[in-house]
């Protein structure tokens, strides 16, 4: 299945294309954690993971066409 990915700030270092936005192929039934493995993002790198705009845990199974966005925890002022 095709997953649309957005990686921002230091998470962009893990982009296979060098761009913030790209697409990946994952087998049916793959989870968010499987995507992290594919992109080689170690657990030590903190991130906020949004799937279709919702904060989501790594064990979530992905569906074809899902949009996954990752960025570091931030705060604003």
């Amino acid at each position: 299945m095709l997953i649309r990915v957005g990686l921002f700030a230091n998470l962009k270092d893990h982009s296979p294309t060098g761009d913030s936005r790209f697409e990946v192929e994952l087998p049916e039934g793959a989870s968010l954690a499987d995507l992290f493995i594919l992109l080689e993002i170690p657990d030590s790198v903190l991130r906020v993971s949004l799937v279709n705009g919702r904060d989501t845990a790594p064990d979530r199974i992905l569906n074809n066409g899902d949009e996954v966005v990752l960025f570091p925890p931030v705060e604003g002022g």
Binding site: V45, L50, G53, D55, F71, P73, V74, E75, G76
Partner: protein, 609 residues
């Protein structure tokens, strides 16, 4: 006393006199300092219905017991007064270097009353204070004012001052310290201007006495050690890219206010967020006194038409002047930010007022002829020009200088002003962050995210994310965080460090680290519960002042756009903010009446009678 310097400076601007006053140790203990000290004096001495721009208003600058001690981010002061923008109190916070210098000059607070009959500045050096003529400074921008005052006093002194905006009584004029740091909100600069007070200059060479220096040193080194360990593999995004990086989060959550809050996502967000700022205009980061994060941005723009240098923009400016105006031109936003700093203007209200004007024009309620120029969504040049006009009260700027609510009301559509209690919101749309809506509506200073900031536990995962669309059961967390922020603002610390490192990672955020720092510095022997209770006391004292000034439930409001118009697109699509239900639950948690007035029982439990 330790931690506290034990002295308050009273400045009677009418008589042109200064005098020292002892800080009552009981008051210091119960109200901690900073924001707490401010409300103690305002409640005791200021008529809640006084005209904010009259000689009757008081202006208080107060540091906290941890300011200038070397505690991590112990670098802050608060400016407190009755706001000419809202008519409520305001508690405007700033960091940099000035607050530490003020503390080290021997004072916990300076209290200004009356009005000078000519422009003056206050000069303090190590316990000696005097008012000096400022006629030659009147009219100068904040950078020139600062340079002139350092010339006139000492090169190592620190300055806080107003620019032309404060002198011109722009209702959202700011007080700028160390040139680039702002006590920004609610028109504190206009109060200074109305008093003919141009600046405060301090030189302080004393050390802040600590009750238990060994204990302080040991705790501090633990705190810094943990911070360094945690950031080893994860350099703080704040240090790398500043607060402007937050637009990445808010846009992806669908809560980045766009087009005067008509939308929650902006196509151009990547053009204006922190990483782009780093790539294009960042010179280096900067830090306040004793801060290991260093979120400040020293920037420089060389794009023709927008040339300038200084500090910023911060996230709030990226929202108010960027997405909110549909402007994706970062050079324009940065330049407008510099103009705000130089003239002494609040960037949030400035940007939000321009956005409201843009919508008024868009809908045909205000003509471009009257504005004196074109004013379409996305026009960065208009933003810069109108900002300058506002600070100088020239042309249409004279109308913008009143803020968005008076502007929108004048043109027949007050509902287009995105405000609570007359002050413009921060950059988080409550349709996608319910608790934030409650925080905006119940903030004592009018809309502000820095009175509790539910974005932490609704969007940013600190300590963890709750369901941001769930409004039921949200009230207690909002109240606890409001009390925590009272503690942080009163101790003299910065939210960015304190929330993550000096409070327990629980939703009710017990301030264990802050308590330890306070005890080591002051010897007060607080329990964590006593500190949290002080926070609750301070918050209720502020509410009491508001009640006496005539504020009640009707003022704890949000515009219909947020409570009735579902978010049209993005990750928060379809939602509205359910304020009314949250208010019922919140008043109960707070021990206030159904009309939002603090009950006698709760007040006497907090020793506030």
């Amino acid at each position: 006393m330790h931690g506290w310097m034990g002295k308050v400076l009273r400045v009677d601007l009418t008589a042109g006199q200064v005098r020292d006053e002892e800080l009552d140790p009981r008051v210091a203990r119960d109200f901690i300092g900073g924001r707490g000290l401010g409300i103690h004096y305002l409640l005791k001495e200021l008529d809640p219905v006084a005209d904010p721009l009259s000689a009757e208003n008081m202006l208080i600058m107060a540091t906290g017991p941890l300011t200038g001690t070397g505690a991590a981010t112990g670098a802050r002061y608060m400016v407190m007064t009755k706001s000419p923008l809202t008519g409520a109190i305001t508690t405007s916070n700033s960091g940099g270097m000035f607050p530490t210098e003020l503390k080290r000059s021997g004072y916990d607070a300076v209290i200004f009353t009356g009005k000078s009959n000519r422009p003056v500045y206050l000069w303090i050096k190590d316990g000696q204070a005097e008012l000096r003529p400022a006629d030659e400074l009147w009219g100068l921008d904040t950078a020139k004012t600062t340079d002139a005052l350092l010339e006139a006093t000492e090169a190592k002194a620190r300055v806080t001052c107003i620019g032309p905006a404060g002198e011109n009584l722009v209702l959202f004029a700011a007080i700028m310290n160390d040139k680039h740091r702002a006590a920004g909100r609610s028109g504190v600069g206009a109060v200074m201007g109305a008093k003919n007070l141009k600046a405060v200059v301090v030189r302080g060479t004393r050390k802040v006495p600590l009750a238990d220096p060994e204990r302080f040193k040991e705790f501090h080194s633990q705190v810094i050690g943990k911070f360094k360990e945690a950031t080893k593999d994860n350099p703080p995004p704040l240090r790398l890219h500043g607060t402007a990086v937050t637009a990445m989060a808010t846009n992806n959550f669908g809560v980045l206010p766009t087009k005067n809050w008509q939308q929650g996502e902006f196509d151009g967000w990547e053009d204006i967020y922190g990483v782009t700022l780093t790539e294009k205009y960042l010179v280096r980061n900067s830090a306040c006194f004793s801060c290991p994060i260093g979120c400040g941005r020293r920037t420089k723009v060389e794009v023709p038409g927008f040339e300038g240098e200084g500090e910023g923009p911060e996230y709030e400016t990226i929202y108010s002047m960027g997405s909110n105006c549909m402007i994706n031109n970062l050079a324009a936003v940065t330049k407008a930010n510099y103009v705000c700093n130089e003239l002494g203007l609040d960037t949030i209200t400035m940007g939000a007022t321009v956005a409201t004007a843009m919508e008024l024009v868009d809908r045909g309620y205000l003509s471009e002829e009257e504005v004196g120029r074109s004013l379409k969504w996305g026009d960065g040049e208009a933003l810069v020009e109108l900002t300058r006009q506002t600070g100088m009260r020239e042309g249409f700027g004279d109308k913008l200088a009143q803020g968005s609510l008076r502007l929108a009301t004048e043109y027949g559509h007050p509902e287009l002003a995105m405000v609570s209690k007359g002050q413009e919101f921060a950059g988080y749309d409550p349709r996608g962050s319910q608790g934030m809506g409650l925080a905006y509506a119940t903030s004592p200073i009018g809309a502000s995210h820095m009175r509790g900031d539910p974005a932490y536990f609704e969007l940013l995962g600190v300590p963890f994310n709750v369901d941001r669309f769930e409004h039921r059961g949200r009230a207690k967390a909002v109240a606890d965080w409001q009390d925590l922020f009272c503690v942080i603002d009163s101790a003299g610390l910065c939210v960015f460090f304190s929330v993550r490192n000096l409070a327990e990672p629980q939703l009710d955020v017990p301030p264990t680290g802050i308590t330890e720092y306070l005890n080591a510095a002051t010897g007060a022997d607080y329990t964590v519960e006593e500190v949290m209770k002080a926070g609750e006391r301070i918050f209720n004292a502020e509410r009491l002042f508001l009640a006496r000034a005539g504020f009640a439930r009707k003022d704890d409001a949000l515009p219909p756009r947020l409570t009735e118009e579902p978010m049209p697109t993005g990750a928060s699509k379809g939602h509205v903010c359910h304020l009314d239900e949250m208010l019922d639950e919140y008043y109960e948690v707070r021990g206030w009446s159904g009309d939002g007035i603090p009950g006698d029982e709760r007040l006497s439990g907090l020793d506030l009678d």
